[in-house]
């Protein structure tokens, strides 16, 4: 569905994107995960033809060039900024973006209803967007991107600054779009979003893709072992016989099989007051790859 080859973009002496390549299959959900300034949005703008790459090329749905209007008809974008008209109502925003995508008449009316349903704004369809909360605006932003049923939907940090309720609503909307066969390209710096929504993840930092694979494969390759952390009721008689490291009454043990480790500790006669298992995740993968946290 989408192919990016050796994309390069430079602003003065700043190399925003350096040789980024990846492919996204039809119906797949693909995430660009990285901290702010990693080059995700610049890459996304090149993918949709809004920014001309200094090097490399983008192809959509075969040989389609994103600069070609016919190709762009298959694309929808929910920009990181709230790309809606605050002075227009929810219905008017959807109608406008539907019209510029060529929708008319009954089809447009149906898609407006669908968009209002997706955003959960049907009861407030006539209200101006300027009266909405941040979460409602984000939902409308997403609905406007998808009103024309694009085959490829690009979401640039679609949950920035929204409350948990709206975030869940957005997740459910995206999952519904995916279920309808839409290909998804998702940029975020929240690893839990990438884990929940996407089949494959490209981890970006400083304009480069550091690793690209399914979430499980990335964790297997770069996440390390799970960590079992137990708080003991009393100090063990022989601390040297215990696995892992003991700090006061807290014992930390790295393990590929956390349940077996917990069972072994119980059989060793330790009285456990509290137990926590830290499974490896994309945060750990990013830390491993860059030495920094995603939110640094």
């Amino acid at each position: 569905m989408l192919s990016a080859r050796d994309l390069v973009k430079t602003y003065g002496s700043t190399k925003a994107v350096q040789g980024v390549s990846f492919e996204v299959g039809r119906g797949e959900a693909f995430a660009l995960l990285g901290p702010n300034g990693a080059g995700k949005s610049t890459t996304l703008h090149m993918l949709v033809g809004a920014l001309r790459p200094d090097g490399g090329r983008v192809r959509i749905d075969g040989e389609g060039d994103p600069a070609d209007p016919t190709t762009r008809q298959r694309i929808g974008i929910a920009p990181q900024d709230l790309a809606i008209y605050e002075e227009l109502s929810a219905e008017e925003n959807l109608a406008f973006f539907g019209r510029i995508q060529g929708l008319r008449g009954q089809r447009l009316a149906e898609r407006i209803e669908w968009g209002l349903g997706l955003a959960g704004l049907a009861p407030r369809r006539k209200d101006r967007a300027e009266t909405f909360s941040g979460g409602m605006k984000r939902r409308l932003n997403l609905a406007c991107a998808a009103v024309h049923e694009p085959r490829l939907l690009l979401c640039d940090e679609p949950t920035v600054g929204v409350d948990p309720q709206s975030r869940n609503h957005i997740f459910e909307s995206i999952e519904a779009l995916r279920a309808g066969g839409c290909t998804l390209l998702y940029t975020t710096h929240y690893m839990e979003e990438a884990e929940r929504l996407c089949d494959r993840v490209a981890i970006m930092d400083q304009g480069k893709i550091l690793a690209l694979d399914s979430v499980g494969a990335l964790i297997d390759a770069h996440g390390g072992a799970a960590v079992v952390e137990v708080e003991l009721a009393k100090a063990p008689l022989d601390a040297t016989a215990l696995p892992g490291t003991l700090d006061g009454l807290t014992l930390r043990v790295e393990s590929d099989d956390p349940l077996a480790t917990v069972q072994a500790l119980g059989q060793a006669g330790l009285e456990i007051r509290r137990l926590r298992i830290d499974r490896p995740d994309l945060e750990r993968v990013f830390l491993h790859l860059t030495g920094r946290s995603l939110r640094d």
Partner: protein
């Protein structure tokens, strides 16, 4: 075209819902027109003397009448040789009225004495229809000058005796006069001669009693209709201030749409538009069409108010459409350049006023072009305001022909093309 229309309608809707922009587009220009119109009209200040032109075709008696008229407080009198010259000055709005002293005019009491019903009035007054409120005042001052003549006459016994002798001769030759009436008039002449000879004449109350053939001003003063010449002269200050206000409105539109373009870029809606099947040309055309339509609608509303409420006249509606189209196109070009030069909304809004205000001041936006000193008029050539105002004034009150309007239209369109091209080039470089 449908996409361009969709974009334009959206932008117009946004403009209508933005009260701040609406103030600059509509309310501010209207206030400018009303303020400067009132200022130039002098309604709020001390009223200046009424300019009156006099034509004297009398054998000589008109001179003292004109001298007394000139001495009237509130009148500024000058004379011309012919009635046509006098009428033209009033028609052109250069004088409030003319006074025509006709060949049969006689000064003093005998001018009002013994006149028949069919005798032609010896004086005529023609007043600018736009200054009809001052007509009564002028007629009063003319009458006052006539009576002053009678007072002067009656205080000069020698002159009085000559006049009664002439009147006696006239009575003797008036064969059709009723004998009883002749007798009573001769008795009056005798009485007047007696008064003059006694050298004790004291003028007390010069007020005449109106009676046919007696001592009366009735029929002496004729009011003549003047049809105002519409050619090349403003009929009121609002004829001048409304074209300027229209150009202020166009500038308000240009600023509003330039700001909205920057807002679209900042908010990401421009990105969304560019990812849609629309080309850059569509997007620019939509914004330009919206700016032009807003300019035309604003112009129509302002001018409509001027015509209905303040009597602004529209000389040639077709030329006016051409002028408004040219001016709107010019300011659309200005809008595009402003939108690509500024990076933030406040930079565009502030920058446009900083750049446009001096151009407005030298271009007739504040000081009317017709009131500019020559050096400022020369400097105004550099301002698009001047050409827009000239074109609109040409259709409103200057009574331009198409050929006369073409230079201004050509300059406006040339500015539009140059600025539009420059704007597109900068935009391509900024958003490739």
């Amino acid at each position: 075209m449908r996409a361009v229309w969709t974009l334009a309608v959206k932008d117009l809707r946004l403009l209508v819902r933005d009260r701040v922009s609406l103030f600059w587009v509509l309310a501010f220009p209207l206030l400018m027109a009303l303020f400067f119109g009132s200022l130039f009209g002098g309604d709020g200040g001390e009223r200046s003397a009424m300019g009156v032109v006099v034509v004297d075709e009398s054998p000589g008696e008109g001179a003292s009448f004109i001298r007394r008229l000139d001495a009237s407080e509130g009148l500024e009198v000058d004379t011309v040789a012919t009635l046509d010259q006098a009428r033209d000055l009033v028609r052109a709005g250069k004088r409030v009225a003319f006074v025509h002293v006709r060949p049969g005019f006689r000064d003093g009491g005998f001018a009002m004495f013994g006149r028949g019903r069919d005798d032609a009035p010896a004086l005529a007054v023609g007043v600018d229809p736009g200054r009809s409120a001052e007509k009564g005042l002028l007629q009063g001052l003319v009458t006052q000058a006539l009576f002053s003549g009678m007072t002067e006459q009656m205080s000069d016994p020698t002159r009085m005796l000559v006049q009664t002798q002439e009147a006696r001769a006239g009575l003797a030759s008036a064969a059709e006069l009723d004998p009883e009436r002749r007798e009573s008039l001769v008795a009056l002449m005798d009485a007047l001669d007696g008064v003059s000879r006694s050298q004790a004449l004291v003028a007390t109350d010069p007020t005449p009693t109106a009676s046919a053939g007696g001592f009366s001003t009735e029929g002496m003063l004729e009011s003549v209709d003047v049809i105002r010449s519409e050619g090349g002269q403003p009929r009121s200050p609002f004829d001048v201030t409304f074209p300027s206000s229209i150009v202020w409105g166009l500038m308000g539109c240009a600023t509003a749409f330039a700001t909205s373009m920057v807002r679209e870029r900042r908010a990401g809606t421009l990105l969304r538009l560019r990812v849609s099947p629309l080309s850059r040309a569509h997007i620019l055309a939509g914004k330009g069409l919206a700016c032009m339509l807003a300019g035309l609608i604003t112009s129509a509303l302002l001018l409509g108010f001027g015509v209905v409420a303040l009597g602004v006249r529209v000389g040639d509606p077709i030329l006016l459409l051409l002028a408004l189209g040219g001016a709107a196109a010019c300011f659309t070009g200005i809008m595009l350049v402003m939108s690509v030069i500024g990076k933030t909304e406040s930079a565009v809004a502030g920058g446009s006023w900083v750049v446009m205000m001096p151009l407005a001041m030298i271009g007739g936006g504040m000081i009317p072009l017709i009131a500019m000193p020559p050096w400022l008029l020369t400097a105004s050539h550099a301002s698009p305001f001047k050409w827009a105002i000239i074109a609109i004034e040409g259709a409103v009150w200057r009574d331009f022909t198409l050929a006369q309007m073409l230079p201004a239209l050509g300059i406006l369109l040339a500015i539009a093309i140059v600025l539009f091209s420059a704007g597109v080039m900068v935009m391509k470089r900024r958003d490739p």
